[in-house]
């Protein structure tokens, strides 16, 4: 820890944590490209929002880059075939999800030819209409590659509509162990800068600030060289600290602006994208190529040969690891399998889980790295409070959640928690704080859903009651009407009879009189 950090610590300005970054040696190895595997497993839900809808049939031949599932709904992204081959199944597989739940996926058997469709590139993206760029990015299935996997086009067009002024590019890569962004910045700096310029054009933003943590001097140098001629692209080294790459924190450090709670960066004229996304946008516009591959960091004490690997989306983690050099001692000592980073990534039940668009790392941890331990009681040390980048009180929230007082937990900020894990990382009692928060958020979501469902049921019941009432009323009215008619008829008849009787009597009388 540097002197400045110590100073800041004394001033109390010490949000976040400074984990051991463990990025090297993986970050110093050149990118490797993995050959096409035999089969690819493509979950229909690889992004935030609605799942994609398959547009291919089992047995159909597809080419590399062909659309196999289309976007569905406002926030969604299409999926393309990562290689040429045959669709062998559309079925449920184990997806990158901690519960080990299965998700529907398209399974593609590669034919080995790796034949591209015709790609409609564009030599001069700056001549394109910004809206057209948004459309093409959407069609290419580009999503945020930093982990959240939010459809990029939705952000680009939204930003253009709200007239953002600044594009913040996240090259922070604050998660320990991961170096996929670092590696791409070192090797593909020019393309990243090109992608950034295309995004500037697409959004109408005036400048781009690229934040890179100062533990990546090579990446900073490479990006500075690549951006040298571009007046509107600024490379900004920022202090290494976790979670620097979190949207709100990054925006605050780079622009000094604070994003208000319950609102988005758009509202203060800022759009945030990841460096990997800039590359994907460039490929989508310049080459007309959809997002079908990404760079994944293989790391962890159990990995034989840590490094960064360009893999096709849909490749099983198992095969990526095998390509990367396998596990030490064939997995002896493996304590936990993680997809994503160690701070926010998810545990996976086995390695037969495919890489998806948002997968930034495949980590094989040994017991010492995971440091799993039975939690002790909270000693109210306040470490979690100091570490929380959002200014929350993790100890208070977890105490309330333990008593199932979810609403109280929300009252003290549960909804503002970004699940960054700083609190649990520093907790001396090793309390699984994030687990509490995730659990509570899940419970609340379930409650909301229940409430919606109850409301809907209630509404239906109410409508039914109303209908029944109305019908009953109508029936009663009809009956009353009929009765009235009957009575009226009876009365009329009686009157007629009476009249007739009277008439006959009168007639008889007359007759008698006359007789």
């Amino acid at each position: 820890m540097g002197f400045m950090n110590l100073f800041k610590h004394f001033l109390g300005d010490d949000w976040g944590v400074h984990p051991d970054d463990r990025k090297r040696p993986a970050a110093d190895r050149p990118l490797r490209t993995m050959p096409v595997p035999e089969k690819l497993y493509l979950p229909l839900q690889q992004h935030l929002g609605g799942p994609a809808r398959p547009v291919v049939l089992v047995g159909q031949q597809v080419k590399k880059g062909e659309l196999i599932a289309e976007a569905q709904g406002m926030i969604s992204a299409p999926i393309h075939a990562p290689t040429s081959g045959t669709i062998v199944a559309v079925t449920d597989i184990t997806a990158p999800h901690p519960s080990g739940l299965t998700l529907p996926a398209i399974i593609l058997a590669a034919d080995g030819r790796d034949e591209w469709i015709d790609c409609q590139g564009c030599a001069d993206p700056f001549a394109l209409d910004p809206a057209e760029i948004g459309k093409r990015v959407a069609a290419a299935g580009v999503v945020g590659l930093g982990g959240a996997a939010f459809p990029s086009a939705v952000k680009l067009t939204g930003a253009a509509r709200s007239k953002v002024k600044t594009l913040v590019i996240n090259g922070g890569e604050c998660e320990p162990y991961l170096s996929c962004d670092d590696r791409q910045m070192r090797e593909r700096a020019a393309d990243i800068v090109d992608g950034i310029r295309i995004m500037l054009h697409a959004t109408g933003a005036r400048e781009a600030l690229v934040g890179i943590e100062d533990n990546k001097p090579e990446a900073i140098a490479a990006m500075q060289a690549a951006a040298a001629g571009e007046a509107e692209v600024h490379i900004r080294p920022i202090p290494a600290r976790y979670p620097m790459g979190s949207e709100k924190q990054l925006v605050q450090v780079l622009t000094g602006k604070e994003v208000a709670a319950e609102s988005r960066t758009f509202d203060i004229g800022i759009l945030v994208h990841n460096v990997g996304t800039a590359l994907a946008v460039r490929a989508a516009i310049r080459d007309g190529r959809p997002l079908i591959s990404r760079v994944v960091t293989v790391n962890g004490n159990c990995a034989n040969d840590p490094g960064n690997i360009e893999v096709l989306v849909g490749t099983l983690a198992e095969e990526v690891i095998a390509f990367a050099g396998g596990l030490k001692g064939d997995g002896i000592g493996l304590a936990r399998r993680v997809m994503g980073g160690p701070m926010m990534g998810m545990q996976i039940p086995h390695w037969r889980v495919p890489v998806v668009k948002g997968t930034s790392g495949i980590l094989a941890f040994d017991a010492q790295e995971v440091a799993a331990q039975e939690p002790d009681p909270c000693i109210r040390c306040g470490s979690c409070v100091k570490a929380c980048p959002m200014g929350l009180l993790p100890l208070e929230m977890s105490a309330r959640i333990r008593n199932s007082a979810y609403d109280e937990a929300v009252g003290i900020g549960l909804k503002d928690c970004i699940a960054c894990g700083c609190c649990a990382y520093v907790c001396p009692s090793k309390i699984p704080l994030v687990q509490y928060f995730v659990h509570a958020k899940g419970e609340l979501a379930a409650q909301d859903r229940n409430k919606l469902r109850n409301d809907a049921t209630k509404k239906l019941a109410q409508q039914r009651q109303e209908r029944l009432d109305r019908e009953a009323r109508e029936k009663a009215e009809a009956a009353a009407k009929r009765k009235a008619e009957r009575e009226a008829a009876a009365a009329a008849k009686a009157a007629a009879e009476a009249a007739a009787k009277q008439a006959s009597e009168t007639a008889g009388a007359t007759e008698g009189e006359s007789a």
Binding site: A260, M346, E374, P377, I379, V385, A424, P432, V434, Q435
Partner: protein, 361 residues
């Protein structure tokens, strides 16, 4: 939902840990206390060592007993977190070094059983267990708790050997008059009560000694070593500067002002800072995680409160020393302080409303 069912689920992120642990923290605090303690052994001889050892032992014993009685499944793990040892150690640091054995046992009982386990164990207690025991002992047994001896290197009598030390410790024989001595605060209080001006009184009384050559508890005699231990804790980030500095300021500022106004009536800031359990209180008691507020602003308020109350009790109260009382009073305030001093949530104002979105940003 219980914690057990929570942990039975798949493990949530993060999948890494900073490596800090309760036992490591407790160990560091004990390490920080070590120099002052060793110095205390040298100053006060075997009886002091016996007192220290038995206080810790009885704390640990009562902890085991309570855990067993309550049927806690994790007796061993709870013991090894080192918190009972630390409580005993801190209590011993505040006792008269030649106090008899039963003070240690009764103190251990009060600290662990009444001060901690009754509340629900580690992390649940409202009051600092060591201070609860200290105050309870002082109020119940004022005599042995105010009988101080002069440091042995200053005494004219021969240093008691191991066996006679044991006798002093176990039999609570009256300490020979030539050994006893008043603490600076005690002396000042009695002389003032007799209507003697402090300027005169301190002439004849114990000197203010930076190297601890004066009567008092371990924590008092070795105030400078306690300060060093505190600095070690600051550097290793076990504690932050907020509470200790606030305690010291809370005492020193009013003391300095009052002393300037009436030196005959009020002790100087220096005398206050080096006397009694102040250093110990500032660095080891006011920083107790469980019983102090958990935001930095809260800790500053908490510390200032302890300092100020200490000075008030020392200057105007019936007891010569007031750190323990002040700590307990502020412990009681901690939930209130925590309620009002919350950190500001990013993107919200202090009241929790989202920040306004600036026009044409």
């Amino acid at each position: 939902m219980t914690p057990a069912t929570l942990t039975a689920q798949t493990v949530a992120s993060p999948h890494a840990h900073g490596g800090n642990s309760v036992s490591r923290t407790m160990f560091r605090v004990q390490l920080a206390l070590l120099p002052a303690t060793l110095y205390g052994f040298w100053l006060y001889g075997w009886p002091a060592f016996f007192l220290w050892a038995l206080t810790i032992l009885s704390c640990v014993a009562f902890e085991v007993l309570s855990l067993k009685l309550m049927g806690t499944p994790r007796v061993k793990a709870t013991l090894f977190d080192g918190s009972a040892v630390l409580t005993g150690w801190l209590l011993a640091m505040t006792l008269p070094p030649w106090a008899p054995w039963w003070v240690a046992v009764v103190g251990g009982f009060i600290a662990i059983v009444i001060g901690k386990q009754v509340f629900g164990g580690l992390g649940q207690n409202v009051f600092n267990p060591a201070m609860v025991a200290r105050v309870a002992l002082l109020v119940s047994f004022p005599l042995p708790l105010t009988l101080w001896v002069a440091p042995l290197p200053m005494s004219t009598l021969p240093t008691p050997d191991f066996v006679s030390s044991l006798r002093i410790f176990l039999t609570s024989l009256p300490v020979p008059d030539a050994m006893t001595s008043a603490t600076l605060l005690g002396h000042a209080k009695t002389e003032l009560a007799r209507g003697i001006d402090l300027a005169t009184a301190l002439h004849a009384g114990p000197d203010l000694s930076w190297i601890g050559m004066r009567a008092g508890s371990f924590g008092e005699s070795a105030a400078v070593l306690i300060l060093c231990g505190g600095l070690y804790l600051l550097i290793t980030r076990v504690i932050t500067w907020h509470a200790p500095l606030a305690v010291l300021a809370g005492v020193a500022i009013p003391a300095a002002i009052a002393h300037a106004v009436d030196p005959g009536r009020f002790l100087s800031a220096e005398a206050h800072l080096l006397s009694g359990a102040l250093m110990l209180g500032a660095f080891f008691i006011a920083t107790d995680y469980v019983t102090s507020p958990n935001t930095t602003t809260g800790q500053i308020i908490f510390g200032l409160g302890i300092g100020l109350l200490t000075w008030v009790i020392r200057s105007f109260g019936g007891y010569p020393e007031g750190v323990a009382f002040a700590v307990l009073l502020m412990n009681a305030m901690t939930p209130v302080i925590d309620r009002f001093c919350k950190p500001r949530i990013l993107g919200r104002d202090r009241k929790g409303k989202p920040l306004d979105i600036p026009e044409n940003a």
